[in-house]
C-alpha cells in the first residue's frame, strides 16, 4: 500500500530522474544536424546517390551499348544523337561515361573496403597487443608509407599484370597503412580507459574486449576514413589508367581520358566528359567525408 505522499514523492523522483536524461542523442543526431547546416556535404551525398543510381540504371538511361562500335560515325562532336559525341571507334561517349560509373564506383569501393578491413585488423592488433606485434606491424606500415604511393602501386601492377583484380590489390596495399596507423593510435588511447579495465574485471576475454569494446569506439572514425579513401582510390586508378598501367579491358573513366588524350585538340569532349565525371565524383565524396568528420569529431574528443 502506498500513501498519497509516497505516490507524490515517487512521481517527483521519476520526474527528476527523467529530467536527468540528457537531450544529446549521440552521433547520428549530430550527423543529421550536420546535413542540415553543411550544404556542401548534403550536395555531396545527393550527387553520390545520383551517381549510384546512374550506375545501377545505366541501360535505362542510354540506348547504346558501351562497346558497340559504329565506324561510320567516328569522333563526332556532341549532338542530339550523341550527347557527349563519339570516340575514335564510334562508341557513344555519354554511354561510356554512364557505364564507366559502375567501374569507377567499384574501384572506389572495393579496395577501400579491403584496406579498411585489413588496416583495422592490423591497427587493432598492433595497438592492443603492443610490444613485438606492434613493432612488426608498424614497421611494415612505415615501409609502405615510405614509398611514393603511385610508384608503389605502379610497380605492383607491372609485377602482377594489368587486370582489375590486381588494381584492387595494388590500391589496397597502398591504402591500408594509413588506416592501420589511425586505428592503432585510437586503440592505444582506448585500452587505457576505465571501461576496458571494468570489462576485464568482469572476466571478458582479451579478444572480446578488442572486438566488442574497443572496435565499436573506432567506428565513427573508420566511416570517415572510408568515405575519404573512396575518392582517393578513384583518383589513383584514373592516374594509373592514364599512365597506361590500368586494365585495358575495363572502360573506367581514367582509361577513357587516357585513350582520348591523343585527340584532345580536335575532340576535347573525349577527355572532358570522363574528366568532369571523375572531378564531380571525387569532390562529392570529399564533401561528404569532410562533413562527416566535422560531425563526428566532437564525439572523438570525449
Amino acid at each position: 500500500m502506498f500513501t498519497s505522499k509516497d505516490k507524490y514523492t515517487r512521481a517527483l523522483s521519476d520526474q527528476i530522474i527523467n529530467a536527468e536524461i540528457q537531450p544529446d542523442d549521440g552521433v547520428l543526431a549530430s550527423i543529421r544536424n550536420m546535413f542540415r547546416t553543411n550544404r556542401a556535404a548534403l550536395l555531396g551525398l545527393i550527387v553520390i546517390l545520383l551517381i549510384v543510381l546512374m550506375a545501377a540504371a545505366a541501360p535505362l538511361i542510354t540506348r547504346y551499348d558501351p562497346n558497340e562500335m559504329d565506324l561510320a560515325s567516328m569522333n563526332e562532336a556532341p549532338s542530339a544523337e550523341h550527347w557527349f559525341g563519339t570516340d575514335d571507334l564510334g562508341q557513344d561517349v555519354f554511354t561510356r561515361v554512364v557505364y564507366g560509373a559502375r567501374i569507377s564506383l567499384m574501384i572506389g569501393f572495393v579496395p577501400s573496403l579491403i584496406s579498411l578491413i585489413l588496416g583495422t585488423a592490423m591497427g587493432l592488433m598492433a595497438g592492443y597487443m603492443g610490444k613485438r606485434v606492434d613493432a612488426f606491424i608498424m614497421r611494415l606500415a612505415d615501409v609502405v608509407l615510405a614509398f611514393p604511393s603511385l610508384l608503389l602501386a605502379m610497380v605492383i601492377m607491372y609485377t602482377l599484370g594489368s587486370s582489375i583484380l590486381n588494381m584492387f590489390i595494388a590500391l589496397s596495399i597502398i591504402n591500408w597503412a594509413g588506416t592501420a596507423r589511425v586505428v592503432r593510435a585510437q586503440t592505444l588511447s582506448l585500452k587505457e580507459k576505465e571501461f576496458v579495465e571494468a570489462a576485464r574485471s568482469m572476466g571478458v576475454s582479451r579478444w572480446r574486449i578488442a572486438f566488442r569494446h574497443i572496435l565499436p569506439n573506432c567506428l565513427p572514425n573508420l566511416i570517415v576514413l572510408f568515405t575519404l579513401d573512396i575518392p582517393g582510390a578513384i583518383m589513383w586508378e584514373s592516374s594509373m589508367s592514364f599512365l597506361g598501367v590500368g586494365d585495358p579491358n575495363t572502360a573506367s573513366w581514367g582509361l577513357m581520358v587516357s585513350q582520348g588524350k591523343g585527340y584532345a585538340y580536335m575532340c576535347p569532349w573525349l577527355i572532358l566528359a570522363p574528366g568532369i565525371a571523375i572531378l564531380v565524383t571525387v569532390m562529392a565524396f570529399n564533401f561528404l567525408g569532410d562533413g562527416l568528420r566535422d560531425a563526428i569529431d566532437p564525439y572523438m574528443k570525449t
Binding site: S13, D14, I17, N18, E20, I21, Q22, D24, G26, G130, K193, E194, F195, E197, A198, A199, R200, S201, M202, G203, V204, S205, R212, H213, P216, N217, L219, T302
Partner: protein, 333 residues
C-alpha cells in the same frame, strides 16, 4: 566465521621508465574478509589500497608485478591462477565497482547490453533471457523504467544512474565478494547516500562480502564492519569499526580522525598531519610514519614496529599505541 578472502603478505612493485629500481607500492599486506561482512580499506592517495585490490583481481597494469604473498579465495590462490581461470572468477564470484561511473561504462554500448554481457559470459544465458534478467536487475538497483533504460547509452544516463548500472553489473552474478574502489567519490552527497544504502540492501539480501576502498571516513562509519588503515604500502592498523572510531591506536589513524572537519567549534584551524607521504623508493628505515609522527622517538626511526595485537584483534603497527579515546575533529592526538 569463515573468511571468504585471505590476503597474506602481499607485495607489489612497479617499474618506471628510466629507473632501474622497482618501486614497492604494497609491502607485506595481510587482509581477511569474512563472509557477509564489509571491510573498509582506508588510506590517502598512493598508499596502495587500489593496487592491493587490482593485484588480487589480476588486473595490475603491465608495469606492475606481484612480488610475493598469496590471496586465498575458495581454496585457490588467486595470485597463482592462470588468466583463463581467473577470468571465470572475475565478474562471477568476485566483481568490482570503479570510482568513475562516467568512464567505466563503454560509451558506444547500451547500458543494458553491458550488464547482459556478464550474464551471457558467466551464466551462459541466451540473448533474450539475459535481457529479461538484466531488466530485473535494473529494477532491483532502483533504476526507474528499467525496460526503457536497457536501451539507453551511458551518456543518456545521469551519474547516479550510471553507478546503479555499474552496481547492477557487479551484482548480477551474486558474487561472493564485491570490491568497491571509491564507488561514491565522483557522486554528490545525496546520491552517495542512496548508493551506499543500495549496496547495504543488496548485501543483506545476497550475503556478499564487500571490500570497500575509500578515503572517506564517513563512508567507513556508514557501511563497514572491519577497517584496515594503510599507510605507504603497509597496513598500520586494523580494528572493528566501533573500536576504530572510539579508540584508534596508531598516530596516523588518530591524525586522520582529528583532521575530520567538525561543525561545532568555530574559528579554529583544522588539525592536519605535518609533512608528506615518503617516496616509494626512499622509505624511512624504521617506522614509515616516523618522519611525520608527533610521538616518534629514536627507536621509531631505526627499528620497524610489528603489526601487534593491542587487544581483541585490534592490530596496530606502533611501539607505543595510544590507548586513550580519540575525539573526532579534536584539537590534537
Amino acid at each position: 566465521m569463515s573468511n571468504i578472502l585471505e590476503i597474506r603478505n602481499l607485495s607489489v612493485s612497479f617499474a618506471s621508465d628510466g629507473i632501474k629500481e622497482r618501486a614497492i607500492a604494497v609491502n607485506g599486506v595481510d587482509i581477511d574478509i569474512s563472509q557477509g561482512k564489509t571491510v573498509g580499506l582506508v588510506g590517502e592517495s598512493g598508499c596502495g589500497k587500489s593496487v592491493t585490490s587490482l593485484a588480487v583481481m589480476g588486473l595490475l597494469a603491465d608495469n606492475g608485478r606481484v612480488e610475493g604473498g598469496e590471496a586465498m579465495f575458495g581454496g585457490q590462490d588467486l595470485l597463482k591462477l592462470p588468466d583463463r581461470k581467473l577470468r571465470r572468477i572475475r565478474g562471477n564470484r568476485i566483481s568490482m565497482i570503479f570510482q568513475e561511473p562516467m568512464t567505466s561504462l563503454n560509451p558506444v554500448i547500451t547500458a543494458g547490453r553491458q550488464v547482459a554481457e556478464s550474464l551471457r559470459l558467466h551464466a551462459g544465458l541466451d540473448a533474450a533471457a539475459a535481457k529479461a534478467r538484466t531488466i530485473e536487475i535494473f529494477e532491483k538497483v532502483g533504476i526507474p523504467e528499467p525496460a526503457r533504460r536497457y536501451g539507453c547509452y551511458p551518456h543518456q544516463l545521469s551519474g547516479g544512474l550510471r553507478q546503479r548500472v555499474m552496481i547492477g553489473m557487479a551484482m548480477v552474478m551474486k558474487p561472493d565478494l564485491l570490491i568497491a574502489d571509491e564507488p561514491t567519490t565522483a557522486l554528490d552527497v545525496s546520491i552517495e547516500a542512496q548508493i551506499l544504502r543500495l549496496m547495504r540492501d543488496l548485501q543483506r539480501e545476497s550475503g556478499t562480502s564487500i571490500l570497500m576502498i575509500t578515503h572517506n571516513l564517513g563512508v567507513v562509519a556508514e557501511l563497514c564492519d572491519d577497517v584496515y588503515v594503510m599507510y605507504a604500502g603497509e597496513v598500520v592498523e586494523r580494528a572493528d569499526v566501533m573500536t576504530l572510531f572510539k579508540e584508534c591506536a596508531h598516530p596516523y589513524t588518530r591524525g586522520l580522525m582529528a583532521s575530520l572537519p567538525r561543525m561545532t567549534p568555530k574559528g579554529r584551524r583544522l588539525y592536519n598531519i605535518q609533512g608528506t607521504v615518503p617516496n616509494l623508493r626512499a622509505m624511512p628505515a624504521g617506522c614509515r610514519f616516523s618522519p611525520r609522527c608527533e610521538f616518534a622517538r629514536e627507536r621509531c626511526r631505526t627499528e620497524k614496529p610489528p603489526l601487534a595485537d593491542v587487544g581483541n584483534g585490534h592490530l596496530c603497527r606502533c611501539f607505543e599505541p595510544r590507548m586513550t579515546p580519540i575525539a573526532l575533529g579534536g584539537d590534537g592526538l
